[in-house]
C-alpha cells in the first residue's frame, strides 16, 4: 500500500512532465478533522505520501492544573472536560484509580449505577462517532437519527444529576446523587426502543453499498502494528484482536454480566479496515444495551454516599489504573506524596495513542480516504490535547 507511485505522464514528444510532491495543510479548521487537528500532508497528486499530525491546539494544561488542586475530588470536573462526549467514562476511570490508591471499597449499588451510566454513555459516544462518520463519508441522514437517540440518553443523565454533558457525577467513594425512582423504567424503555433502532442504523449506514465501498479497503491496520502502537478500543478490536479491559483487566462489577466482545472479522474486505472499526462500534452498542439491561435487573439497594471519605489523604505511593472508555484504554497514573494535593496525575488518553498510528495507516491512500480514516479513529481533540 505504501508503494503508491504513479508513473509520471509522458508527452507525445517522449519527454516526461515534471512532477513533485506538495505539502498541504488539512486543518486546524476543517470539518472532517473532528476538532482542531492539523495534519500536514505530503501528497503526490492525490496520493498521500506522509502525514505529520500537529496537535495541542486544545491543550488546557490538565496535568498542571491537577497539581494545584487542594483536594482529589476537585479533579473530577476537569476530567469531565477531557473527553467531552463521554464524561461518565472519564470520571469512572479517575475514580477507579483514586479508589485503588486510597483502598476504598465502594458499595455494590454504586458500582452498578456506575456501570449503567458508563454503558449508556458509551452508546451516546458511539452514536456521535457513527453519526459524524456518516457525515464524513457523505451520508447525512443517519447523523440526525443518531442525535435523536443520543438525546434520550442525555435526558436520562439529566434526570439523574441535572447535567447533560459534563456531569461531575461519580465521586471518589460514591456518587453525587442516587438515581431517581423513574430512572429504571425509563432506562428499560430506552433499551427496548434502541435495540430496534440499531437494526435501522445498520440498514441505513453499515450495509449501505456506498458506505461499504468507501470504507472496506481503506486504512488497513494489521493486528501486530496495532499492538505495537498500543492502540486500544474499537481500533484494536477492529484489527481482530479480542481484547477488552472490561474482561481482561477487570474493574467494577463487569464480571457479573453476560456479554460478548465485538471483534472485526473482515466481513466485507480485509480485517482491520475502517469498516471493521465501524462495525465494532455498532456491535458494542448492542452489547452495552445487554449490560445495562442486566444491571437494571440486578441493581441492589443501598446508600450511594456512605463510602465517600471526609478527608482524602492517600499514603505516599503511585497507581496506574485503566478502564475501557468508548475510545479505548483510558488510564490514570496518580502519584501521591501523602498530602491532600495530587503530586502528579497523568492521563493516558486513548485518542492520543490511537492518533499516533495515523501515518502508518494512511500512507498511500487518497486524500478523500484520509477523511474516512480520521473518522474511523474517532478522536476527540479534548482528550488528545488534554
Amino acid at each position: 500500500m505504501s508503494e503508491a507511485i504513479i508513473a509520471p505522464p509522458i508527452s507525445s514528444t517522449g519527454r516526461s512532465l515534471r512532477t513533485e510532491e506538495m505539502i498541504i495543510n488539512m486543518g486546524p479548521q476543517h470539518p472532517s478533522t473532528h476538532g482542531v487537528l492539523r495534519l500536514e500532508l505530503i501528497v503526490d497528486g492525490e496520493i498521500v505520501v506522509d502525514v505529520v499530525p500537529h496537535i495541542g491546539y486544545l491543550h488546557r494544561c490538565f496535568e498542571k492544573h491537577c497539581e494545584h488542586m487542594t483536594n482529589y475530588q476537585q479533579v473530577i470536573p476537569y476530567v469531565d472536560r477531557m473527553d467531552y462526549v463521554c464524561s461518565m467514562n472519564n470520571e469512572f476511570a479517575y475514580v477507579v484509580a483514586a479508589e485503588r490508591l486510597l483502598k476504598i471499597q465502594v458499595p455494590e449499588r454504586v458500582e452498578y449505577i456506575r456501570v449503567i451510566m458508563a454503558e449508556l454513555q458509551r452508546i451516546a459516544s458511539h452514536l456521535i462517532a457513527v453519526g459524524t462518520y456518516g457525515i464524513d463519508i457523505g451520508a447525512f441522514t443517519p447523523f440526525l437519527y443518531c442525535f435523536r437517540d443520543r438525546e434520550m440518553i442525555l435526558d436520562l443523565f439529566e434526570m439523574t444529576c441535572g447535567a447533560r454533558l459534563l456531569y461531575n457525577y461519580m465521586w471518589i467513594g460514591g456518587l453525587s446523587h442516587d438515581i431517581p425512582v423513574e430512572f429504571v423504567p425509563k432506562a428499560k424503555e430506552f433499551c427496548g426502543y434502541f435495540r430496534k433502532q440499531l437494526r435501522d442504523f445498520n440498514d441505513l449506514l453499515t450495509y449501505n453499498e456506498i458506505f461499504v465501498k468507501r470504507t472496506a479497503n481503506v486504512g488497513l491496520l494489521p493486528a501486530d502494528v496495532a499492538v505495537n502502537f498500543a492502540c486500544s478500543g474499537p481500533m484494536l478490536r477492529g484489527s481482530g484482536v479480542n481484547w477488552d479491559l472490561r474482561r481482561d483487566d477487570p474493574y467494577s462489577v463487569y464480571h457479573k454480566f453476560d456479554w460478548d466482545i465485538a471483534v472485526g472479522k473482515g466481513e466485507v474486505g480485509p480485517v482491520g479496515s475502517c469498516w471493521d472499526r465501524h462495525i465494532v462500534r455498532m456491535a458494542e452498542m448492542e452489547q452495552s444495551i445487554r449490560i445495562v439491561e442486566q444491571a437494571l435487573e440486578q441493581i441492589p439497594e443501598g446508600d450511594v454516599q456512605s463510602a465517600i471519605p471526609k478527608r482524602i489523604r492517600p499514603n505516599p505511593g503511585e497507581v496506574y489504573a485503566r478502564t475501557e472508555s468508548p475510545r479505548g484504554e483510558l488510564g490514570f497514573y496518580i502519584v501521591s506524596d501523602g498530602t491532600g494535593t495530587p503530586y502528579r496525575i497523568k492521563a493516558r488518553s486513548p485518542g492520543f495513542v490511537n492518533l499516533s498510528v495515523i501515518n502508518e495507516i494512511s500512507r498511500g491512500s487518497m486524500i478523500a480516504d484520509l477523511v474516512a480514516i480520521i473518522g474511523s479513529i474517532d478522536i476527540v481533540l479534548g482528550e488528545v490535547d488534554r
Binding site: I55, G56, E63, V241, Y320, V335, R344
Partner: protein, 161 residues
C-alpha cells in the same frame, strides 16, 4: 508471572551487568515497580518484550515525573499474551536528563516520549523526531517541572492573562 518472578528473572538475566541498578519495590501501596539504571533501559526493554516468559508487547503508558532534584520516567507494561504487568522506572538527574528512547521497541513510545520531552525536558537519545507535541514549538521551558516559572510574555502576549 507474578511481579516477584519477573523481578527474579530480570535479576538473573542481568546478573553480570555491574551498573544495572535493579531495585524492586513490590509491596503496596506502590504498583510493583522495578527500577533500572538509564544506561541499560534499552536492553531491559528488549528482553522484556522478546523473552518467551515475559512477552510485554503492550506499552500502556510512559510518563515523566519530577521528583525535585531527579526526574523519573515510568513505563507501564502489560502483556496481552501472558496477562501480567510490571512498572519499570528510570531516574535521571535534573541537570541534563537523558534517557535512551524505547521507540525502536514499542513504537507507541514515540508520542509519549515527545510529551515527556515537551513537559519535563527529558531528552530521549535515539528518538527519531524529538519535537514538542502539546505546546507551541517556540514555547520556552518545561511546565510540569516543579520549579517552573510561568513566563511573563509569549510572543508579545501577556501570559497570566
Amino acid at each position: 508471572m507474578t511481579p516477584q518472578e519477573i523481578s527474579e528473572k530480570l535479576a538473573a538475566k542481568f546478573s553480570g551487568v555491574s551498573d544495572i541498578g535493579l531495585e524492586a519495590k513490590l509491596d503496596a501501596p506502590v504498583d510493583p515497580t522495578i527500577k533500572v539504571s538509564p544506561n541499560h533501559i534499552l536492553e531491559v526493554a528488549k528482553f522484556l518484550r522478546d523473552d518467551d516468559d515475559m512477552q510485554f508487547d503492550f506499552l500502556s503508558c510512559l510518563s515523566g515525573v519530577d521528583l525535585k532534584g531527579k526526574l523519573a520516567v515510568v513505563y507501564q507494561l502489560f502483556s496481552m499474551v501472558k496477562r501480567h504487568k510490571i512498572t519499570i522506572r528510570v531516574e535521571v538527574p535534573t541537570e541534563n536528563p537523558s534517557v535512551p528512547s524505547v521507540e525502536s521497541i514499542w513504537r507507541t513510545a514515540n508520542w509519549h516520549e515527545r510529551e515527556a520531552y515537551d513537559l519535563f525536558g527529558i531528552t530521549f537519545a535515539g528518538h527519531p523526531d524529538l519535537r514538542r507535541i502539546l505546546l507551541p514549538y517556540d514555547w520556552e521551558g518545561h511546565p510540569l517541572r516543579k520549579d517552573y516559572q510561568v513566563p511573563e510574555f509569549y510572543n508579545g502576549m501577556k501570559v497570566p492573562y
